[in-house]
């Protein structure tokens, strides 16, 4: 474990990967003898030579287009666009070409390229050296977009990006380059693309952030902790594809959302994140976005720039207001209604420690195979369905919502072996997974006996067990697992 700054971590990733894989080519403006204007490529030219560390002319279209061609040819180009503000000349090759080539050839061609660029304000760069560009590229299916915030992620995500078989844009916040220092694991530690991280555990409100705004959000959360407000901060790390599971798991717990980004607010990433939360029905109060106002550029003047970029004070204020809002949904409700006649059954299943996603999938599959439950949905992942809600209930005290729901309660590794749930008002059924002991657990299902016959519960559980124990395919939406566990042979 070493203490590095973000820029040192980027440099370490490039150096190690170029040494490991001769196909890796670094190219961009000033990346050679100068070592890049931010020194991300310092030392590479001397070590690997001009053929693999290529100083390019001021030609962003060509840089991106040549990288596409090199990648199609079998190299692993890592192109640098010096400032994200200059990336738009390359957009046709990124969105129009790199993102589409695998799909448009049904896999005959692929584009394993990386494009790194420095983005973000806060250092008096003015309108053309400060912009955030993530929304343009996170809107392009076929690209992957990562935005590391810590030195460990800057290295681990860059390694993952270079080894990914498809194009990845790596957005590096230039203020983090030297301001953020932290531990970086030794050796070949890859951070998977598509996985967010909980940067701070909390229970009252969830902040979704990345880049320098992650650190500002953590600072705001630390201040609020002294005031008794418990903020959970999620470091998104990958902006496309978003880690919906981590996001919604956090929001299901806190039921309050604040998105923070430096990018301008309208059509920004916050809009999508709020939509995900709204569609999943996990919020008790309307969400809040802390973002730059809709101004064409970031002004260079110190006072003006500071006035428009989010910071720990504006984030703190937004969170205080958010937490003060009365919950419009959920809240205390009747936990037990003696008028509901209950029927329940229990089954034992083989179950790994990490099982939430497969358990949810198994509920869906079992319901689909059971027309009498009238649960006519086809669903995968934690998303809302307009007719039937699968209510992801992670704690015994979390309230259930909506009519006709199945609440899945997971006791987790420290829970009891067997708990018989009861059906609360607004629910049709409740499913409880007991603690996993030696790879096995008890699952108990209770139903409203007026709606579902007791014998159907047993059959449903049998279907659930079959579905759960079947070997599942890895999630295709996440990155390629074989590429994040270690270097290719």
């Amino acid at each position: 474990m070493r203490e590095l700054t973000v820029i040192e971590a980027v440099r370490a990733a490039l150096t190690e990967e170029m040494a490991r894989d001769p196909r890796v080519i670094v190219m961009g403006e000033d990346v050679g003898k100068l070592g890049g204007v931010f020194r991300a490529t310092e030392g590479l030219y001397d070590r690997f030579g001009a053929e693999r560390v290529i100083d390019m002319p001021m030609a962003e279209t060509g840089i991106a287009g040549v990288a596409v061609g090199m990648a199609m040819r079998g190299l692993r180009p890592v192109a640098e666009i010096q400032f994200a503000d200059f990336i738009h000349a390359a957009m046709d090759h990124l969105v129009g070409e790199a993102a589409k080539i695998r799909w448009r050839t049904a896999g005959d061609w692929s584009v394993p390229m990386v494009l790194r660029t420095a983005y973000g304000g806060g250092f008096r760069g003015g309108p053309y050296h400060s912009q955030s560009v993530e929304a343009f590229y996170a809107h392009a299916p076929g690209l992957k977009v990562v935005a590391p915030s810590t030195p460990a992620d800057a290295k681990g995500l860059l390694l993952a990006a270079i080894r990914d078989p498809d194009p990845v844009i790596v957005l590096e916040h230039k203020r983090t380059y030297r301001a953020i220092r932290g531990p970086v694991p030794d050796g070949d530690v890859v951070v998977p693309i598509g996985k967010a991280a909980i940067a701070r555990l909390g229970s009252d409100v969830t902040v979704l952030a990345y880049g320098m705004m992650l650190h500002e959000s953590l600072a705001a959360a630390a201040t609020l902790a002294e005031e008794g407000i418990d903020v959970e901060v999620v470091d998104l790390r990958t902006l496309l594809p978003l880690d919906r599971e981590t996001i919604l798991t956090s929001l299901t717990k806190t039921r309050r959302l604040c998105v923070v980004h430096e990018d301008t607010i309208t059509m920004g990433l916050g809009a999508e994140l709020c939509a995900i939360a709204a569609e999943a029905g996990v919020l008790d109060v309307p969400p809040v976005r802390v973002a730059m106002p809709d101004i064409p550029g970031i002004p260079v003047d110190d006072v003006l720039e500071d006035a428009i970029l989010p910071n720990r004070a504006t984030i703190r204020d937004a969170l205080v207001r958010l937490v003060a809002r009365e919950r419009t949904h959920g809240g205390p409700r009747a936990a037990y209604d003696p008028a509901i006649p209950q029927a329940s059954s229990t089954i034992e299943v083989a179950l790994p420690e990490e099982h939430l996603r497969s358990a949810l999938d198994a509920v869906v599959e079992a319901c689909a195979a059971f027309p009498r439950f009238n649960a006519t949905f086809s669903w995968s992942g934690i998303t809302e369905h307009p007719d039937v809600v699968v209510d992801l209930d992670l704690g015994t005290s979390a309230p259930a919502r909506g009519g006709g729901t199945i609440t899945l309660v997971d006791y987790g590794r420290d829970g009891a072996d067997l708990g018989v749930p009861f059906v609360r008002p607004d629910q049709t059924a409740a499913l409880r997974i007991g603690a996993v002991r030696n790879g096995r657990a008890y699952v108990t299902c209770a139903v409203d006996h007026r709606a579902i016959d007791g014998s159907d519960v047993g059959r449903f559980l049998a279907l659930f067990k079959t579905a759960l124990e079947r070997q599942r395919h890895p999630d295709p939406n996440l990155c390629h697992p074989e590429l994040v566990e270690g270097p290719p042979s």
């Binding site: 070409e97 448009r104 299916p141």
Partner: protein, 314 residues
């Protein structure tokens, strides 16, 4: 060229013309979405493809380079699968319109809509040849309309600076869909641009298959020897409208154009290189092959909507 090579060239030109005419009629009859004619351009694509080493060299073709694809090994049925946008099309699996060629097997980079974005892809491919040091060269072909885009400038400049093993081939037909040459560039030809990048330029009669083969061989030999890129400026006549969606009577005088057909037709010119009976027999065989390929491809199944998400990953 030897007589065997001339006959091979004639077969490719004749087959491209037969397929082109068949596709044009089918598109005009509403049987397929889109045709991109190559009539008048055939000798450029066939010429450069005949000069390359199959299986070693790489091509980023112009969308009028059907003849190149045929020389490189694409079969008439595959051309027609592309034309009818069938999922079994090896170029684009029914996901791109006709003429967006591409085949890893044939070393043809996947082609795109916005012209000529493939120029820098071809340069990147040639850069790969240099780094991998495998002795291959890349042909990068585009139209004189596309040549006016900054993409081409950046590509030619990078290739020249790094002496990359590539050959830029411009199809100079004088039209960018409806816009005439005088409104696109101020020079009569484009070959002089080569000097601006410090690379050799060769002006070629693009209807002359032997001249195209010779020019490409010269350029390929230079590229393989480390001498860097070459620009080949190949003049040709676009016999037909830009695409099946175009009506060229709105912007050009067809009768004046057709006066050029006799001298500008690469197929007529190539008939002078082969025996007349051979040419007649090949033309008849190719007309039948085009018909057979079209009938067969049109009967192939359309796409399955459950497959549209395949290869979409983010």
């Amino acid at each position: 060229m030897t007589q065997v090579e001339r006959e091979r060239a004639y077969r490719a030109l004749s087959l491209a013309r037969a397929l082109d005419e068949r596709m044009w009629r089918l598109a005009r009859a509403g049987r397929a979405h889109f045709a991109v004619p190559c009539s008048g351009h055939e000798a450029i694509g066939a010429g450069y493809a005949l000069a390359l080493q199959p299986g070693l060299d790489w091509v980023s073709p112009h969308y009028r380079d059907l003849a190149a694809l045929l020389v490189l090994g694409m079969e008439p049925r595959d051309v027609m699968l592309c034309f009818f946008s069938r999922p079994s099309d090896p170029n684009a699996a029914g996901r791109q319109p006709y003429a967006h060629f591409g085949s890893r097997r044939l070393h043809v980079l996947s082609q795109q809509g916005p012209q000529p974005n493939h120029c820098s892809h071809g340069v990147g491919c040639a850069w790969g040849s240099k780094i991998l040091n495998d002795g291959s060269v890349s042909v990068i072909a585009f139209g004189d309309g596309g040549a006016q885009k900054g993409e081409v400038h950046e590509s030619m400049n990078l290739a020249a600076v790094h002496r990359l093993p590539c050959i830029f081939v411009v199809h100079r037909n004088g039209w960018t869909q409806s816009v005439k040459r005088e409104d696109e560039y101020a020079t009569e030809t484009l070959v002089a641009r080569a000097a601006g990048y410090s690379m050799p330029g060769i002006a070629v009669d693009g209807a002359d298959i032997e001249a195209m083969v010779a020019a490409t061989k010269e350029a390929a030999e230079r590229a393989r020897g480390g001498g860097g890129p070459t620009l080949i400026d190949a003049h040709c006549v676009r016999f037909l409208p830009n695409t099946s969606n175009d009506d060229d009577t709105r912007y050009r005088d067809r009768s004046a154009l057709e006066a050029n057909f006799a001298t500008g037709d690469p197929l007529v010119r190539a008939r002078g290189l082969v025996d007349a009976a051979f040419a007649k027999r090949v033309d008849d065989e190719n007309a039948a092959a085009a018909q057979e390929a079209a009938d067969w491809a049109e009967a192939q199944p359309l796409g399955d909507p459950t497959t549209v998400m395949e290869h979409a990953y983010a």
